[in-house]
Amino acid sequence: MGEKDQKLEGGDAKLLIEVEGLQLRPIGSDEPVLRGVDLNVREGDFIGIFGESGCGKTLLCLALSGVIPNNIPAELKGRISYSEELLTQSGVLGVGLVFQNPEYQLLSQTVEDEIAFGPSNLGWDEEDIAEAVSWALKSLGIEHLRDRRIDTLSMGEKQRVAVASVLSMRPKVLILDEPTAYVDPQGCEALLESVRELNEKFKIAVILVEHDLQLLARYARRTYKLEDGRLHEVDVRVEIAKNPSSTADFSGSSPASGKPLIKVENLSFAYQGDLFVLKDVNLEIHQGECVAIVGHNGSGKTTLAKLIMGLLRPTEGRVYLGSREISGTKPEELAHLIGYIFQNPDHQIFAGKVYDECLYGPRNIGIPESRARKTVASLLSQLHISHLGDREPINLSYGEKRRVNIASVLAMETEVIILDEPTCGLDHVNIRRLGELIKRLNRQGKTVIVITHDLDFARAVSHRIIKLERGKIVEHVRAKSSSPLVRLDPLLKLFISLLLILTSFAVKRVEILACINLLLLLAFRLGRVPFNKIMPVWKRFLLGYPAMVLIFVLSQGVGEGLFNSLVFILRFQIIFLFNLLFVYTTDTRRLTRALMRLKLPYFICFMFSTIMRMIPLLSEEARRVLDAQRCRGFRVKRLIYPRNWLPLVLPMLVTTLQRAEQMAISMKLRGFKMG
């Protein structure tokens, strides 16, 4: 420990948080998870904390930030005391907390609004808010992102915005709970370098909770291991020496041989138009080989895996499994051949017991019950979760759920196994165990594809590493339009909408209604809304019109029926076209602000804004849940029976509950009040 470090740890630096004998039993747990934690946090500290999955690291973060027990109740003994400097007049503690997944901590639609959210809640005046926003942006080196929409940022950028949004409230303590879990190595380095600068320049105390011991060794001045519910101060370099790598080194084992099992030929994929995520990818993977696919966030790693699994249809090119072409084959038809382990275990967990969860896939693809049970028991044992067999999977820790998730897919005994970011949320012991399991699978002749941004893990487990570079930026940025319709006040548009509705119902003359229709179509040109965007929605209604004509003719006779049906269709068109025009030419941020001008209660406007941001995120989560279950043999046609909705609905709801809590914590820590 250097001289500087000793000084920081010594009496000169102000004591900010003092934890003495903290015991904490959260809801749903029979025993305390923390059993006597002692910790002093001083100004300028950089503390590292690590420990096995489920040991209580996140609980400790929530307790240090005051969320437990002030918002989330828990049985708490011992003492946490805060220095007066941390207690603000607004009642918000000067402790910032950033979680591993930035998605659900970001509540606004643009970067600037997001960073201003906390200071605004604290009631700062405009000038101070602007200054705080500029300072936070500059401190994190993200000034260039100020006007960007949150949904156009990469994961690394989002995580830095999450830190900036906490920083703008000028906290004295910054807690980072596995902030690098979803960020690629470059993004991770940029983030932690900025944090180190803040720590050194402004003496902000930092508590970094991290699985990666190398990162802790590089950044933290004091390191603690959370074990048996207590913090033990350790020399992280000694810990690294005990575990030379967080993964086992398997390079050179089980060489690949024979004909390629998977062959990818000139594969290209574009989600939209000519925005190619993958372009002309050629790849051969042999039986028994372990191939790691690495690259930055957004480089197309997961897309490539999804194309192999049949979750996406290639725009160009082909995928072969053995001699069979599988491009475009449904994932449920490939479920007995390829197993896909998704990044987020919550996307597939739904059963009441771990054991049943693991049997779901094998049952779907028709593996005999006795064999499936034997395999599941063996896998649970290999992954050291046999003791969890009868537990409810949704109540397990993230790392435990991750292992259940891996066991449930491996139990399907597929020839090919794809693991998407398998180390995410696992501590080094479990990463090592996972590495050993992959090695065993390779020895059994299984082909493994690992998608990861953890280069160390990739080097350790794979025979070959394939690096995907982001050929093109895969951000979908809505084109800024200078169209007058886009600039029009959303409230005025709402008023016009109401006027049009009333007019269309007051008027029964076909020529006037037709004229309004024409004007609206012209407005689409004016608003620069491409017709190919509205056609898919419009087509559905166009198909329904003949039925309406028939109903009118049958009920009113030919003459009157035809006339009335024409009036009906023209009226309907007016409402429908204007609504579409409104959706495509109105920015949600401007709409939220317009609603605030209507003097609607603040919390309703806030809900509106949050929902608009969350719809695409939760829609994506719902899709992942569906993909995860299809890869385990779930068939859509079974949805006719309500019981079969459960594998889809339960994970969706659990995800929603978790996201809601994360959002609530983020809102609370940033001073949100219901007034």
């Binding site: 959260p26 809801i27 749903g28 002030n70 918002n71 989330i72 109740p73 207690l87 503690l93 009441g352 949704i394 109540n395 709402l494 909408s497 509705i501 119902f505 929605v537 309406m548 009335n564 009036v567 009906f568 409402i575 429908f576 609504n579 409104f582 919390f603 309703i604 809900m607 509106f608 949050t610 929902i611 608009m612 969350m614 995120l617 939760l618 829609s619 994506e620 719902a622 569906l626 859509v636 949805l639 006719i640 309500p642 909705w645 459960l646 609905v649 339960l650 969706m652 709801l653 659990v654 995800t655 929603t656 509950l657 978790q658 809601a660 809590e661 609530a664 609370k668 949100f672 219901m674």
Partner: protein, 195 residues
């Protein structure tokens, strides 16, 4: 009597459920559409109804579903041109009425989960169909004629869909009702912090 305000966690949860309601619709509807079953029965209505019921079970207080439906209606009036068969902000009327009906029904038989879900689902579904028809007629919507013709069929299929939603809500509640996540949202405290 002054009603307790929603806690931040309750508000976040209701927002997240509304977002999931919209979000899952984008995923489930095309799937069901491909099976052809939607030509016979609106199975896509199961999920939103089940979500309403589960939302009320998690945030078990009068007003939850009025808020849910009110915000949903506000969003739908801008983003879903054809929902409820009513244009623009007019959707808010049946949406809030639906929320009010369900909230009232869910306030009955509080100690009997299955019974309250069944009553809310079936009675609420029927009331909703009738309410919607009344609103359409009251506003002179041209398709109110078609609504009247199909009222019987609508009532029957509506009851079936709501019945399935109730069964699903019971199964879902069995799965998550005692989970840590639900307990934590329910017990989230809103008092002034005590540091």
């Amino acid at each position: 009597m002054r009603l307790r305000p929603f806690s931040v966690a309750e508000l976040s949860f209701i927002s997240a459920m509304i977002a999931m309601d919209f979000g899952s619709g984008f995923v489930i509807k095309p799937l069901l559409g491909a099976t052809g079953v939607m030509n016979v029965i609106r199975l896509d209505m199961i999920l939103p109804m089940m979500m309403l019921l589960v939302t009320r079970l998690v945030v078990d207080r009068f007003g939850t579903l009025i808020l849910y439906e009110g915000v949903w209606g506000l969003l739908a009036s801008m983003a879903l041109p054809a929902s409820y068969g009513l244009p623009g902000l007019l959707k808010m009327i049946p949406a809030i009425a639906h929320g009010l009906t369900l909230d009232t029904l869910m306030s009955l038989f509080r100690n009997y989960h299955r019974l309250r879900l069944a009553v809310t689902g079936v009675v609420g579904g029927a009331v909703n169909t009738l309410l919607l028809m009344l609103v359409r007629i009251a506003f002179g919507m041209p398709w109110s004629k078609a609504t009247k013709v199909f009222l019987g069929v609508n009532l029957a299929t509506g009851a079936l869909v709501h019945g399935i939603a109730v069964v699903l809500a019971i199964l879902v509640w069995r799965g998550i009702g005692s989970s840590v996540w639900v307990k934590r949202i329910k017990s989230w405290k809103a008092e002034t912090p005590n540091y």
